[in-house]
């Protein structure tokens, strides 16, 4: 006797979908979470809106939407104030600082993470303490040193000054990142015949990509925005940078809001672009360093 096994109908039915979480969500969540976030977003974006309105609106007008748009303020900052040259100087200094800080932070951070040496803790503490010293306090000693070394009025001098200011934090960050890369990976490579240097380049460095992006971005933005050193260590008009150019719009008796806003747009664009490109790595890098560093 043969028996035909007939599957009960019930068995053919797909299992009931799990209850959708969204339906169970508390509607007040929108008020608790989304609304504050939207308000915060507005709070963050309003200055940008203000900047764009003033930059593209003819002087003396009060419309909330800049239409028809004008480029007169950009002409003022680019040709009148000389933003073209300032932009070039800022770019050279920021990229120079980025490269030098990243390379030195990589080497120093690796040493701090992988080697034990006498005075290591004191050294780390000293690095941390440098962060409590405001730039204005370093101004005169640095000025005297730079003058003696012939580094005043030079973009190289500004790269060195910015590097000196950015490097301690970069070192601390980078050493945290290097510690996160298991040392066993390097050891395995060395067992396979690699030298330490080869193991570093072949195994550790690729793992540090987010770290390089994070440290490099900080260095770039720090140097890009540095007003104090650029104004104090340069006394030639052709060596000034964008932040100095921006402050030209703030006169003793009057403020050219159009020029200030247009200059702000010019100064903000590279930073926004840098963030847009690297933000994925930046978040990854920051969280890695922050939690396990």
């Amino acid at each position: 006797m043969t028996q035909t096994l007939v599957r009960p109908e019930v068995a053919l039915d797909p299992p009931p979908p799990p209850p959708r979480r969204r339906r169970q969500r508390d509607p007040s969540r929108y008020f608790r979470l989304h609304l504050p976030l939207v308000l915060y977003l507005l709070f963050t974006l309003i200055p940008f809106y203000w900047m764009l309105v003033f930059a593209f609106r003819p002087a003396g007008e009060t419309a909330l939407v800049p239409w028809p748009i004008t480029f007169e303020h950009f002409d003022t900052v680019w040709n009148g104030i000389g933003f073209g040259l300032f932009f070039q100087n800022s770019l050279i200094i920021a990229v120079g600082t980025l490269v030098v800080v990243t390379v030195f932070a990589l080497m120093g951070g690796y040493a701090l993470a992988r080697f034990r040496f006498r005075g290591q803790r004191v050294f780390l503490l000293a690095l941390l303490c440098t962060q409590f010293i405001p730039g204005a306090m370093l101004l005169i000693p640095l000025f005297v040193i730079f003058k003696g070394a012939g580094l005043l009025n030079s973009l190289t001098g500004l790269v060195i000054a910015d590097t000196a200011f950015q490097l301690p934090l970069a070192l601390i960050l980078m050493s945290g990142f290097v510690r996160n890369v298991p040392v066993e990976l390097e050891e395995a490579a060395m067992v396979d015949g690699c030298t330490r240097l080869r193991a570093f380049f072949a195994v550790t460095l690729p793992q540090l990509r987010p770290a390089l992006v994070a440290v490099g971005s900080f260095a770039f933005i720090g140097a890009w925005n540095n007003f104090l050193f650029a104004l104090m260590f340069a006394s030639k008009q052709d060596k000034f940078t964008l932040p100095v150019g921006l402050s030209y719009a703030l006169g003793e008796f009057n403020t050219d809001f159009g020029a200030l806003a247009a200059g702000g747009v010019v100064a903000a664009v590279p930073v926004v672009l840098v963030f847009a490109v690297v933000q994925r790595f930046l978040v990854q890098g920051l969280s890695a360093g922050a939690v396990k560093g």
């Binding site: 104030i81 000025f143 003058k147 006394s235 402050s247």
Partner: protein, 422 residues
């Protein structure tokens, strides 16, 4: 071959010699920016054409950081040859022994006897030894800008006394139409302006009498009460936080009919409203009928001791303050030229605000009451320490007399300390 080498050497020597002949001086503009830089560039071009042996290197310093820039340069021994300065920090620079004393140079100069004595005195008073450490180039004066069109509409004449100003402010106020007669500077920079108002009303002729500050004089307190009484009745409520920018925005935006500021706002005011809708008057007088004026910081040029070419630097200063350059400069920025030969210039006749200010400054009946801007603490006393107190007065939380008493005590102590340090 040898002849060729000799010729080349001679040529190179000649080139090097030609380069050495030219003296380069550095000039720091203390308020660099798109408004003033082109004016200086033009003047430098003219100077270099008239003095082919001197080359001027212009450096525009943002006004907000100029004092720090000078301080760093002095400490690091890297000062310019010539610098733009104002009396608000001149004492600070002279105190660091950074500036050349220019009395003797002025004595033998074409500028001798050609500078407004009041401005010279203002510059001289900032130094502890009574010497001149800068040559005045531009004077500034407090004025009341008013909407002449609205005055005409209401049939109001230009106020001469503070009581008339209060009356006009009240008549010009219509809160329903968002129209106010006056605007008070209650935020940043308020006390400096208030002191000008108080002394213009009280007629008190000295800032210090027997070493004690006269700020707390009951007549000064009377004026503070009068102004505070206008708050919210004839002024916008937001005035308690007003700084210069907001004040100008209210005035040029048409919300208020009168604004006390100085000639520095000429460009902003004229550009937006035009001479057909706005005019300037001196600060009104008080019951004494005297014209007492607290002068604004005076702009000028100083020769730095650290410069290598002080003679060329002085020539440049002389050129900048000569009648032609001084007239050109002040016409562009709308301020009072220090050189008296500019008085009759056509542009002054066409600029009623400058003409009026020049008239007040040169009137023998005018008494200048210089504020003690030479005190290192002056800025912190009149800003950080007492601006919040003035806001309390405006909000009715502090009596005017008590506010002035506190201010006077601080100013007296600071002056006594300064005398001791001299």
């Amino acid at each position: 071959m040898r002849a060729l080498l000799v010729a080349l050497a001679l040529l190179l020597g000649a080139c090097a010699g030609a380069q050495d002949d030219k003296t380069t001086i550095t000039f720091w503009d203390n308020n660099g920016g798109p408004g003033r830089t082109p004016i200086y560039q033009e003047l430098i071009k003219r100077f270099e054409a008239a003095n082919p042996d001197v080359e001027v290197e212009y450096v525009g310093i943002p006004s907000s950081s100029v004092q720090q820039k000078y301080d760093t340069a002095i400490a690091g021994g890297s000062t310019p040859d010539v610098g733009g300065v104002t009396t608000s920090y001149l004492a600070h620079l002279a105190g660091q022994d950074a500036l050349e004393q220019v009395d003797e140079r002025l004595e033998g100069s074409s500028l001798k006897g050609k500078l407004i004595p009041g401005l010279l005195e203002t510059v001289r008073q900032t130094s502890s030894d009574g010497k001149l450490y800068a040559v005045p180039a531009s004077g500034n004066m407090d004025v009341v800008w008013y909407r002449s069109d609205r005055f005409e509409e209401k049939g109001i004449t230009e106020p001469v006394t503070w009581d008339e100003l209060v009356q006009a402010a009240t008549e010009l106020t219509d809160p329903a139409a968002n129209q106010y007669g006056f605007t008070i500077r209650g935020g940043a920079g308020s006390v400096f302006q208030l002191l000008s108002e108080a002394y213009s009303y009280s007629g008190v002729e000295k800032f210090y009498d027997g070493g004690k500050s006269t700020v707390a004089d009951p007549r000064n307190a009377e004026l503070v009460r009068k102004v505070a009484d206008l708050y919210k009745k004839a002024t916008p409520e937001a005035d308690v936080n007003n700084n210069y920018t907001q004040m100008v925005a209210q005035f040029t935006g048409g919300t208020v009919a009168m604004m006390h500021h100085n000639l520095g706002s000429t460009a902003d005011v004229m550009k937006t409203l035009g001479p057909e809708r706005v005019a300037a008057m001196p600060l009104p007088k008080g019951p004494s009928g005297k014209r007492t004026v607290v002068p604004n910081p005076t702009d000028g040029f100083a020769v730095f001791k650290g410069g290598k070419n002080t003679d060329a630097a002085w020539r440049f200063v002389e050129f900048l303050v000569s009648a032609e350059s001084n007239g050109y400069w002040n016409e562009k920025v709308g301020q009072i030229p220090a050189n008296t030969d500019v008085r009759g210039a056509e542009w002054i006749q066409k600029n009623p605000a400058v003409k009026m200010a020049l008239g007040v400054l040169e009137d023998p009946a005018t008494v200048l009451v210089p504020a003690p801007v030479h005190l290192p603490e002056y800025s912190s006393i009149t800003k950080t320490d007492t601006e919040p107190l003035y806001q309390k007065v405006l909000l009715g939380q502090m009596p005017a007399q008590e506010f002035l008493d506190q201010l006077a005590t601080k100013l007296t102590t600071a002056q006594q300390d300064w005398e001791k340090r001299k």
